[in-house]
């Protein structure tokens, strides 16, 4: 081909790098912005609630349940503690438990899923049958058994979340690894004679990061809901720690006379969950992560 023509050809068509600004693209969607704002708001509260709350969570100000007043914007609870202050701290424990538990679940789950898919053979069979066995037990039953075994401390709850959420992560990561491992750059690494550990860590794992982040966020929102449900059932966080699930449960008896006691923690909980889900949705789409574990969606 004549030189001038090849110059003409190589110049425009698609040689420019695409505008690689997924974050900017994500922020164009109002839902994503709302989601990120809600998550940021709740994280801020969780960290600073003890400092910015008007009262302490255990200080007793009245003799019983009172409606909102100028001093106590959301009134006081049955024991006379400031409801707003307790509400502001009500997500802390659930959030902490979810973050620790899901982090552990995602780390072990991703490692096991990667190993199962790439090594295959008996290791794959062993890991997958173990996951199947765990997933075969009804979730609530499994949690109840684990609570009876480990207790209701923060660390116990985190371990329980980790155990319950690992199998799902294993499955999703294994499926994605199978797709990535079928690509030719993995073949190229094998032909170079790279060690399997290096191939998994350097070639495959970076391609799983998007999926793993989405898994983490989605499962966090699911875990927070689940912990609240446990507290509601009396299997999770217990008095005197403030917790939204617990607060909803306590408000059940006065729901017809003083509905804000139920509505306030319910709004707090759902705004956090919705915030996470909106944010994940937008970010996952912008970063092109597909096939994320929608099964983890609560």
């Amino acid at each position: 081909m004549p030189a001038d023509l090849s110059a003409l050809l190589s110049a425009p068509s698609g040689s420019e790098p695409p505008a690689a600004r997924p974050l900017a693209r994500a922020l164009r969607s109002p839902l994503t912005v709302i989601g990120l704002a809600l998550v940021g708001f709740h994280l801020f509260l969780a960290v600073f609630a003890p400092i910015i709350a008007p009262y302490t969570i255990s200080g007793i100000h009245t003799t019983g349940l009172t409606p909102p007043t100028a001093e106590h914007w959301l009134g006081t609870d049955q024991i006379g503690r400031d409801y707003l202050s307790r509400l502001m701290s009500g997500g802390r424990v659930a959030l902490l438990v979810a973050l620790i538990g899901v982090s552990a679940a995602v780390l072990t789950g991703a490692a096991l899923g990667l190993l199962a898919a790439y090594r295959g053979g008996w290791l794959d069979d062993a890991i997958m049958r173990l996951t199947d066995a765990l997933m075969a037990v009804p979730e609530l039953l499994l949690i109840a058994i684990l609570v009876l075994t480990f207790g209701k401390e923060i660390w116990s709850l985190a371990i329980i979340v980790a155990i319950v959420y690992t199998p799902g992560v294993v499955r999703v990561v294994r499926a994605k690894t199978l797709t990535v491992a079928a690509l030719d750059f993995v073949r190229a690494a094998e032909l170079r004679g790279e060690r399997p550990a290096r191939i998994m860590a350097r070639e495959i794992a970076p391609n799983l990061l998007g999926l793993i982040s989405v898994e983490f966020a989605i499962r966090c929102s699911s875990a927070i809901l689940k912990i609240s449900a446990l507290s509601f059932l009396g299997l999770g966080i217990s008095q005197p720690t403030p917790d939204w699930g617990l607060m909803v449960q306590e408000a059940m008896s006065v729901v017809f006379t003083d509905p804000w006691f139920l509505v306030a923690p319910a709004i707090a909980l759902s705004s956090l969950i919705i915030g996470i889900n909106f944010a994940v949705d937008g970010l996952a789409r912008a970063y092109g992560v597909t096939g994320a574990g929608s099964e983890g969606l609560a």
């Binding site: 081909m1 023509l5 505008a19 032909l191 170079r192």
Partner: protein, 552 residues
Amino acid sequence: MSHLRVENLSIAYRDDSGKEAFAVAEANLAVARGESLGIVGESGSGKSTLARSLLGYVRPGARISQGRIRLGERDVLGLSAAELRSFRGGRAAMVPQNPLSSLTPHLRVGDQLAELVRAHTPLRGEVARKRVHDLMERTGLPDPDALARRYPHELSGGQRQRAVIAAALIGTPELIVLDEPTTALDKTVEARVLALIEEIRADLGATLVYVSHDLNVIRRVCSRVIVMRNGRIVEAGRAETVLRAPQSSYARALVAAIPRIDVPAPPSAATGAPVVLRTSGLSFAYPAPRRLFAAPPKTAPALDAIDLEIRRGETLGVVGESGSGKSTLAALIAGALAGHRGRIQLGDRVVNGPAAQRTPDLRRRIQLVFQDPLSALNPTQTVAEILSRPLRLYHGIGLAEARDQAAALLAEMGMDAEMLARRPRQLSGGQQQRVGLARALAARPDLVICDEVTSALDVTIQAQVLDLFLRLQSEHGLTSIFISHDLAVIARVSHQIAVLEGGRLREIGPRDRILGAPQHPYTQKLILAATGKRSAEPVDIDAEVKQLSLTL
């Protein structure tokens, strides 16, 4: 009076940054009844968008910003949704590229066609069945009654495309739009499908719009052609004129880039050079799937007793169609497959088993370049990382030195050092494949195996990559096995040519002897298909049936 008329048509869509861009800009067309128009262009030229709009279709997110489309007296863009439904599949029909995705997998072929007959004609029951039978017969499908009971995945590629063409004929259309209908097919099958399309046009007197990236195909079926680039029609005229004397610079480049079988041979390597690779009796059979409670079925060998010899500085072109075993051959020599029988010898060393069992030095000496560059390059790594790894692994050099050498390799490939910081998705297809080649050369190998390395590229990009390959051959005395389904590509780069069919080596010899005086009938058929001359032999349905029974 033209039958199909497109006036000043523009189709706009929003790109990633939210700006309005034009997939098709100010297109004008006029096609007479019974004429066939080719639309040719490379990926992203807007050819498919234009073709689909002729049936009143634009993809979601795009809109027709101006212009008119008329078919006969009908204003296509003015049709209501209900009118469009009966228009498509009735007066106008579409034959898409991938026949497998346009047939419903869980319905028998005959049932799908019958459903379309009921939707577009008043025929019902046995009469509808009869119509299906006639159409299948008309499109050259063997034994229509038996084939009608099969599911789409039980048909061969050529048969599927015939079934889709049969579906397009149901409403006796005035306009048939074909979007790359033969791109997924082997060359010899393509030649037969093209003959069928030409026959049908003559029969029905239908107006044909044929979209393709392949000028050779356009030349065979179209009397007139338009060339598109970046949404604009850059040239229009009689197909022969445009192909022989293109006016616009882009059309000239496109025509110049068509691989032709009658190109001069690459400068030959020194005679008497030492043998780099020798295989003798090389055979391979894919292991039979494990079955519960049953003896494993016997599998046909994917490769059967292959004897090859490649000398230093020489390129051996391996040509064959899908299922010929050419990729298996590449995988065995490169070490991606375990369990061959026979002997592979590199220099004076016997190569045993897959890459994991070879010595590091043996692994370095044989390098493989993959077909799909996007799959072959890790999307999370930069070009620098991709190229540094083999440099450091094989030559034990430091990070900084590896980076310098990577830059030098890129320069060798005609790419800037600033590309080192890019990731594969930020490169064009041609650049990706150059990086793939550079990674192989980073090992300073004795033998480079190129497995269909230009098949995923547009024709002008393919020409550039082939130019690069020829330069590497002459400047560095590259020794390689170049695998392709395209005889014209093989003819451009090879000193020796091997013809594979069904796992057997049909013919091997010096390039000019194979191209000029082919001995084996299969080689002769390949050459006929590549030169576009219609073979005198009747449509070979037996072969297709045989191929099918093999795949079943």
